[in-house]
Every structure is written in structure tokens, then in C-alpha cells.
Symmetry: C2
Subunit: 161 residues, 2 copies
DNA sequence: GACGATAGTCTGTAAAACAGAACATCTAAT
DNA sequence: ATTAGATGTTCTGTTTTACAGACTATCGTC
């Protein structure tokens, strides 16, 4: 037996690191509506990305109904604004207020310290490696389309995809 | 501005990869009570680790009350058994049944395929790197003690820790 | 201008986490 | 031995959260 301990399971390691990250950032981002996800929304808003709420929700991996609450809280706190998209009156453009930009700067700094703490067991080179690998996985993930995962893993017939 | 896009955020990458992993393994482990966490419990039970339910819950990052449900489901499916610990009659020792070991072998194989799919964008060397880095982070995480995180990040006074 | 599709919001339901009490048992101090 | 406090597990109830579906307004197209 090749020591298939729980510690060797990728899922366990991933979940463990993720929990640690959420715990550390939960402290760092305390008071910011939505926690880490609120921070990501605020980041996107500050950059004035042209994406709609729906596209943003998809990229952040949250349901569109959840995105509504998330932005509601951020707007109620005066950190972001919903403005009508002149090109599409169904959509809203998200923009950060001055207070939002200031809050984002603070949060980014607090987040940097929290990340340093989470990544403490790794040396600088290893941290860069991890960031690169995760970013590569996240951006080039083939699994954005659930159908392809099912098809690949289970070799399903049926042309529903 | 140094392109602080959402894609550059460690939290986003981590969450994105974690979601992708949960999605893929959710397919692979369909039918196994508890999903990925049920798999981890089953793994620990199969190895006959001497840990109590509580220690196991802590290592897996779940609440102790949740661990009860999790084991309930696995036991109801005939995959694990709860036996009284002869050394401590409060505690129960978890052991996998023959059916549980067979199911675990299947699940492990399905999981291997799912992981291959998730890690598809990486070459073999990079996959090993990622596994090593995550395992190092998960096992040597300084944040197992929440107090230390708070103390380090916010430099709190007060001797509550 | 009629049709289906899309962006956002709202409503209700289902599932999950969590806090706390309860019970049995262990350990340690007296 | 007896008591006091701590620990392992389970149960109960509360709160949060995600999610499916309906609804309104608007877009693009025929």
C-alpha cells in the first residue's frame, strides 16, 4: 500500500488550504460586505470592467441572485454605484465610489498581509510557483463547461452537449 | 497601475480551482454519501486511523455535529462501522466494511480520472509541483490556530491567546 | 410590431452550517 | 472515594445560504 493517507488527497489539501485562506481573509476583510467575494466585486468595479453583473457572477462563481444581494450590500455601504448602461438599458454598469476605492486600497493591503501569513510555509520562489500554477489552472480550466467534464470523465453518449 | 485584475487575486484563483474540483469530483463521487468529505472519512476509516471522530472532524475541517450526520449516512449505506473504543467508552472507532473498502477502491479510481481532468492544463511536472506545494501548505499551515492568525495580522494586544 | 432571448430582481423552498444543551464517560484533585 | 471539571458524541433548534422558478423590462431579429 502506497500510503494513501488523507494527507495525500488533492481534495483534502485543496480544501484545507482554501479553509485557511478563508479564515485568514475573513479576519482581514472583516467589515467589508460580502467578505472575499465582496472584495472581488469591488476590485472589478474599481477597474471599470465592461462586464455585466451576470458575466461577473459567472466569473466569480456565484449565482446571479446572490450577485444581486452582494451588490446591494456594497451599494448600501456606499462603496459601489449601479449606473444604467447607456448601450443596454437592461444592464447596469458597476463603478466604485471614491469611498470604495479608498476601502479597496485598505482591503488590498490587509489582504496582502493575510496572504503572506497563509503562504508562510513557502519561500518566495515557491509562492510564485503556486500563484502561477493556480492562475494557470483557473484561467485555462477546461471544466468551465460542465458538459465536457461529464463527457470526459464518464464517456457519456447522448448529444446533449 | 499594475493590473490588479481579479485574475491576479490569489483568492479568486484558489476559489475557482476549488469550485472546479468540487464540480468534477461531484460527478465522480455521485452516489457516495457525503461526496468528497464522505470519501475522506471513508479513506480514514479504511486505514484504521486511531483518531476519534472529533479529531477527524477537525482535520477535515467540518463541525463535529456535521461529522455525526456524515458517519450516519456512511454507516446506513453499510460502508463503515462504528465500534466502541475499548480504551475509552465515550469514543467510537471507525472502521471500513468490506463493502466500504470495495467502494473506496472504485471511488479512488474515479477520483483519479476526475483529478486528471481538473489538472489537464498542467504538465506532469507542474502537477507534482502543485500537489507538493498544496500539501506543504496544508500540513504546515500556521493558521490551524485562529488566534495566531489574528495576532499576526492585526498585531492585537490582549492576552486572550 | 411580434417573437424569443437576455439582464436584473424578487419569491419561496431546500439544504447546510452553527450554537447550545444533554448525556455518558474520563481525568484529576481532594 | 468522591467530587469537579473536561471531553466525545449526539440531539434540538436557529440562522444563514444556495438555488430553482417566476416576473419585469429591454434587446435583437424577422
Amino acid at each position: 500500500m502506497h500510503t494513501p493517507a488523507v494527507e495525500a488527497d488533492l481534495g483534502w489539501a485543496l480544501g484545507s488550504v482554501f479553509r485557511g485562506y478563508l479564515r485568514a481573509t475573513g479576519e482581514a476583510l472583516a467589515g467589508l460586505p460580502g467578505g472575499p467575494r465582496g472584495y472581488q466585486v469591488l476590485t472589478s468595479a474599481e477597474q471599470g470592467e465592461p462586464s455585466s453583473q451576470l458575466a461577473l457572477a459567472h466569473r466569480l462563481g456565484v449565482d446571479r441572485t446572490v450577485m444581486t444581494y452582494l451588490i446591494d450590500d456594497l451599494e448600501r455601504s456606499g462603496l459601489v454605484e449601479r449606473r444604467p448602461d447607456p448601450a443596454d438599458r437592461r444592464a447596469r454598469l458597476l463603478s466604485a465610489t471614491a469611498a470604495g476605492r479608498a476601502r479597496l486600497a485598505e482591503a488590498t493591503e490587509a489582504l496582502r498581509r493575510a496572504e503572506d501569513h497563509v503562504l508562510a510555509p513557502l519561500n518566495p520562489a515557491e509562492r510564485d510557483q503556486l500563484r502561477d500554477l493556480l492562475r494557470k489552472l483557473a484561467t485555462e480550466a477546461p471544466g468551465e463547461n460542465a458538459c465536457r467534464v461529464v463527457a470526459d470523465v464518464a464517456a457519456l453518449e447522448g448529444g446533449s452537449c
